[in-house]
């Protein structure tokens, strides 16, 4: 009797295992993640920081010593023509790999054909002390005395003008200067595996298309000049590719 029970138990376990295996079906993947990585270039050259080695459209040799900015207002274009908004504000620091990518989680599975986003913060977000008080956000504050909210971007460096070295600070902020970016040629598939999408900021584009930004004429400090910032905003539409 005891022996029979053991045999029965073994058979039950084996059949149970077999039955379980035969029941396995691949679950339908309904959601997945996307990692968006941002790289930097100056036209066709990878961006190297802290060296005066690039020539911009106004013919100044320049360096980049700081490049910090926010991306927000993401929307992903699906193959069926619908769009999927993704809320969130993402801080980037081009010199710090900790702030070099975004992981979008739980996106619906399927084919995507593009994305759009803002460089900066729309007026619903761009309010004084509205972002969590991280060290990075505190460093991006745009003083109340100058309109409040946050810097959308801080891009700084040095440039050579008639043989002498000067500094520049292309700072962007204030509601009218939100830069709207659309990348319609970026395809990716969300599935079981985390998808990767690489985009690049071409820093040279901040100084051209549609208008050449000239430090001498337009100013090497943009923050206090709505005109200078408007020019940067218009040039910024196609800095990402």
């Amino acid at each position: 009797m005891k022996k029979a029970s053991i045999i029965f138990l073994i058979i039950s376990l084996v059949t149970s295992c077999v039955r379980n295996n035969s029941d396995i079906t691949q679950p339908t993947v309904t959601n997945g993640n996307l990692v968006l990585q941002v790289g930097y270039q100056f036209d066709n050259t990878s961006l190297l920081f802290d060296t005066i080695m690039f020539t911009n459209a106004a013919s100044y040799k320049i360096s980049v010593t700081r490049l910090q900015y926010y991306l927000s207002g993401f929307s992903f274009k699906r193959a069926d023509g619908t769009s999927l908004p993704y809320a969130g504000v993402f801080y980037f620091d081009a010199k710090d790999s900790k702030f070099g990518q975004i992981t979008f989680v739980n996106l619906p599975a399927g084919n995507y054909t593009g994305l759009s986003f803002n460089l900066g913060l729309d007026s619903s977000i761009n309010k004084t002390d509205n972002l969590p008080p991280t060290a990075e956000n505190n460093n991006m504050v745009w003083p109340v005395q100058m309109g409040g909210g946050y810097h959308f971007m801080k891009m700084e460096g040095l440039f050579i003008d008639t043989g002498s070295v000067f500094g520049y600070a292309m700072h962007l902020g204030k509601a009218p200067n939100l830069v709207s970016v659309s990348l319609n040629n970026k395809t990716f598939v969300i599935g079981a595996e985390t998808a990767n999408l690489n985009i690049k900021m071409n820093v040279a584009e901040w100084y051209k298309n549609p208008a050449i930004y000239d430090f001498d004429k337009d100013g090497n400090f943009s923050m206090g000049s709505d005109t200078a910032m408007a020019k940067l905003k218009n040039n910024g539409v196609d800095v990402f590719n």
Binding site: A135, N137, N138, P143, V144, Q145, M146, L158, G167
Partner: protein
Amino acid sequence: MRAAFLILTSILLFANCRQDKTVVDKPNITTDTPLTVYNIDVPYRFSQPLLPAYNPLTVEGVELGRKLFYDTILSTNGRTCSFCHPQAKSFTTTYTDLGLDPALYQQFGNIPMFCNEAWNPAYGWIGEFPDMDHIAVADLNGQIFFNTNIPNLITKLKASPYYSYMFRRVFPGQDIYQPGVIQEKVAFALAQFVRTIVVNNSKFDKKIKGLAVLTQSEGRGYDIFMNDVQNGGADCFHCHNYPLWTDNAFHNTGLDSTFVGINRGRNNMTGLSKDMGLFRTPTLRNVSLTAPYMHDGRFKTLDEVIEQYNSGVHKSATLDPIMTLPGKEMGLGLSTLQKNDLKAFLLTLTDSTILTNPNYGRIK
């Protein structure tokens, strides 16, 4: 016979355990009792403090650090940490006041104050200390300030009922009485205490909370501080931003045009030409209490500092872009009234309560 041996062994083990865990002056607590987490009250608009997992803040660790901070046991010359970092002077002082050679400014730099260190990502004027937890190791190993004799220190700590207990309590299960190890554990405890020094009760902090009103002069100074040059300001906020009043980044603000010795700044650490003359932005909290100023203490007064930025900026290849203000490359060109207003605002960043806060003082 076997049973008797087991009983004897058990008694010996029990007695041994009791002996190990019973402490002369804290009989109700054993070294097995879990440590108590120390929570820093994060002030308004401060980010979360940067606390390393390898040296978490505990009530016991902070107490041990505070005790050590004021104790001559660490030195062979009667000095304490508070010798160079006296609470009554906002945890800094001058070499001259200490009777030391002012030439030390050129060797070690201006004595740093302790202020909101829990939020600092790096320490020292050029970021030479990646964490606070090992800074004191250098002092304990060096001969300039403490002239510590490590074997003697170990002997003294072992002989002290308080320290003997507290080191086992704070660092349980660790054989800390080893040269090289004891320095780290002392430094860890000191770092825990220093991280608890939170400076956030200035007039300006009260103004933010609606509990104080700036005078007209202070208000004008605030506007000068927070506006860029094109708007008539001094553009101080880019490096000295609220609430820490520092961006904790490295800048060459035009103190020199040529760089020798300590004035080479971060270049002395990295060797990179881009770091020539760069120093970490100091906080402006308690700036009125922490003269002299700059990494080498070259300025005795706030007026001298303001004048430096007003008319004395030196150009060099690494001058921070923010300092190359359009049309004002040599300085801000503020009027006397504007300079006075700016100074008045800086004085509102003073939190004198830390000078007497009993939580930061010597343990009675």
